[in-house]
């Protein structure tokens, strides 16, 4: 079998069946853009929820027995040693009083000593789903007087996050199936017109692999083309939409994922799906015509 000839045949076929090649690439691009957009939306929602979660902080009050600031600061190591703690920021009683006075009417605090306030730590968690467990671990540290945590808020956030994750996963899985179905049917349609050509090849004594290889080359090339175009289109589309969103009034509060952070993963996934669909779709589509 002459490999060079078969590879050339695969590429030649793309131009000789120009319209069907165009239709195949267009369907691959459309399906990948829909899939990619839903995935990017889900990823951004996830980041948004995580941002909101991080704003949900735990306040750890230091026991009165550790009135000395240096001794109170020493607790930081013990707090940060807990797995789920992402950061712990020390706030002295003086700073706590100033914060309080800046938020409320300062005259209320006239003549009150800062000793009324306790040293404290503002603690952020890695995952608020484990807030209750972390609260118990913080309370167990010697020198901690009290831990204030909004467990009900945490519970709500976790519920929202789980629902969003489940919905986006279902959507993505459904889209993957629908896309595979549409893409493989387009390829089937594209090869249907070539069943006569395949029958002739069989009749002159072509082996199945001789017939299949140009289809593999063609599927690979069309798949790569579709994947690359879809990636570039998704890039442009994402930057356009997120650019407008960030520049809008509501958008200033949002923290969108920069495209470059997901570009490599997206490129790999797009190429893998499109090549897989192109090659296996093509080979699968001609399978029935080879049984002559």
């Amino acid at each position: 079998m002459r490999l060079g000839y078969l590879i050339r045949e695969g590429f030649r076929s793309i131009t000789t069946h120009g319209f069907m090649s165009f239709a195949t690439v267009a369907i691959i691009v459309a399906c990948l853009i829909i899939m990619g957009s839903v995935s990017l939306l889900a990823m951004n929602i996830d980041v948004l929820i995580k941002d909101l979660e991080n704003q949900n902080e735990i306040v750890v009050f230091v026991d009165e027995s550790l009135s000395d600031e240096a001794a109170a600061r020493d607790l930081q190591r013990n707090i940060e040693a807990i797995d789920n703690v992402s950061s712990a920021q020390f706030v002295s009683r003086g700073e706590a009083m100033n914060n309080f006075m800046s938020k409320y009417d300062a005259t209320l605090m006239e003549g009150i000593d800062e000793d009324v306030f306790r040293h404290r730590f503002i603690v952020h968690l890695n995952d608020i789903a484990y807030m209750s467990q972390t609260k118990t671990e913080l309370e167990a540290i010697r020198g901690v007087a009290k831990v204030n945590a909004h467990l009900d808020y945490a519970k709500n956030f976790v519920t929202i996050r789980n629902v969003v994750t489940a919905v986006s996963m279902v959507l993505i899985v459904m889209l993957v199936f629908v896309s595979f179905f549409i893409m493989s049917n387009t390829i089937k349609l594209a090869t249907f017109g070539r069943r006569e050509e395949i029958a002739i090849m069989k009749m002159v004594g072509a082996t199945n692999s001789f017939i299949r290889l140009p289809f593999v080359v063609e599927g690979l090339a069309l798949g790569m083309m579709g994947g690359a175009i879809a990636f570039l289109a998704e890039w442009g589309l994402y930057n356009l939409v997120t650019g407008r969103l960030v520049n809008s009034a509501a958008g200033t509060l949002l923290n969108v994922i920069p495209f470059r952070n997901v570009a490599l993963e997206l490129f790999v996934v797009f190429m893998a799906i499109s090549i897989l669909v192109g090659v296996f779709g093509g080979v699968n589509a001609i399978r029935n015509y080879l049984k002559v």
Binding site: Y5, M201, K202, V204, G205, A206, T207, F210
Partner: protein, 228 residues
Amino acid sequence: MVLMKNVRKVYESSNTVALDNVSLTIEDGEFVFLVGPSGSGKTTLMKLITGEVRPTSGKVVVNDFDMGTIKRRKLPKMRRTLGVVFQDYRLIENMNVYDNVAFAMRVVGAPNREIRTRVPYILELVGLDGREKRMPGELSGGEQQRVAIARALVNSPRMIVADEPTGNLDPVRSLELMLLLEKINEMGTTVVVVTHEKELVNAFSKRVITIDSGEKTGDSSEGGYYGV
């Protein structure tokens, strides 16, 4: 060489008996007309020879391959010993004359050097020299059938099987084509022509095998069609 012994072919999907108890032998170098009315089983007999269908019972041997037991992966090798010509030419529309013929050589892995010398020779043999660059759509029916014969011939097969090769041609072109097949036969290739054209069969003094309602009803060495 074709050997058929007590061959029965039933299409299970429609429960149709296409051939029943057919026995025949075609020796190397023979020229045979296979005749019979439409639906008589001629095409099924041809498909048994090309390996498109398998016998329900009985024995079919083509060029030393047992067609009843041949493995699917061995079919290409068997088909390379045959040249098949169809009524509707079955040329690849987006390939020119040269490539349609060269294609059959590429399939069997022939080197380019050999293709470059063999294809022009075959095209000249069938009277198509100078038409190498033409596309099938630019040729007449007779010319297209000549391309199909050139493609069937290019790998020097032991046998050429032609299914109604003159079905789409006028009488003059039909006669020319049969003369070409006769010339090919004289060069040593076995030729089996499936047809139902009485005049054409009777114009040549060749062996005629008659099939009717799935059975072999006649086999005469220099016969005519229906004894005409």
